[in-house]
Subunit: 132 residues, 2 copies
DNA sequence: TTATAAATGTTATATTATTACATAACGTTA
DNA sequence: TAACGTTATGTAATAATATAACATTTATAA
């Protein structure tokens, strides 16, 4: 059992918002949504996001500049992330497939580089959008 | 043998710059470097970049907001990309490993989604930086 | 050659993210 | 509990990345 990281006030406000949204959120959309809670400046949002990413509570979807709550309860630190992204409706979900993560975590090539982290983004059409 | 895509004037200027640089370049650094060639506005750069990405001559390194020339001569269209990124010196190189690309191109899970494209970024320390 | 698509030029602006500096709250341990 | 170091917060300004809108020109191909 790992120690729960206790979130600060701003971190909690921002994590709860992202988590409840159920999907990816962009920084300035987050800002807009938390202004009533007293978080007024972009930097306050980015600082909380940075910390939440660091401790694995959220992940950044790099191709979308957006942040999503970790959907994988066992993932306390985000060193190995994979997402599927629908290019039509922009729905994003985290892939948790142990075969895939094992394969990638142990991947090595002849570059002499030891990989400590990866991020994988798959693109396509989700079930709903495909059938339209 | 695939048809060579013939580049327009701006596309050629910008591709040549990125290609000669040998590494990833950021859009505004590209802009700065091509101003003497008459390309004066960000949009001119972004339009060329968009096209070059579309036809697979360059790839975007999403986590760095940077663009790198395709190092894989057989890759005319970039639907399957993998990179290794050194977190210390920021050196980037394209991974061309047929096992990896086969594995990922054929990857499917139970989401009902058909993946038509992926991008994978590995992070770590390169040989040089490791030995420092 | 004419019409259609692709590329260019230009200005303005939107979006995403960081620097710099000051202050406050928290956790440890002497 | 006082003193210290660390983490978090507040605020203003600005840097870096990217797109919208519109006018014009060039290339392609029917």
């Amino acid at each position: 059992m790992q120690k729960e990281h206790s979130l600060s006030k701003n971190q909690k406000i921002i994590f709860d918002l992202i988590d409840k949204s159920g999907g990816p959120m962009k920084a300035y959309s987050i800002l807009f949504n938390v202004q009533k809670k007293g978080i007024k400046a972009p930097l306050q949002v980015y600082r909380a996001l940075d910390k939440l990413v660091e401790i694995g509570k959220i992940h950044k979807i790099e191709s979308r500049n957006a942040f999503i709550a970790c959907q994988n309860s066992s993932c306390q630190v985000s060193k190995a992330t994979a997402f599927s992204i629908c290019e039509s409706c922009e729905n994003v979900s985290e892939i948790s497939n142990s075969k895939l993560s094992k394969y990638l975590s142990s991947f090595s090539d002849n570059s002499g580089m030891k990989y400590s982290k990866y991020n994988l983004e798959f693109f396509g059409l989700c079930k709903k959008c495909k059938s339209k």
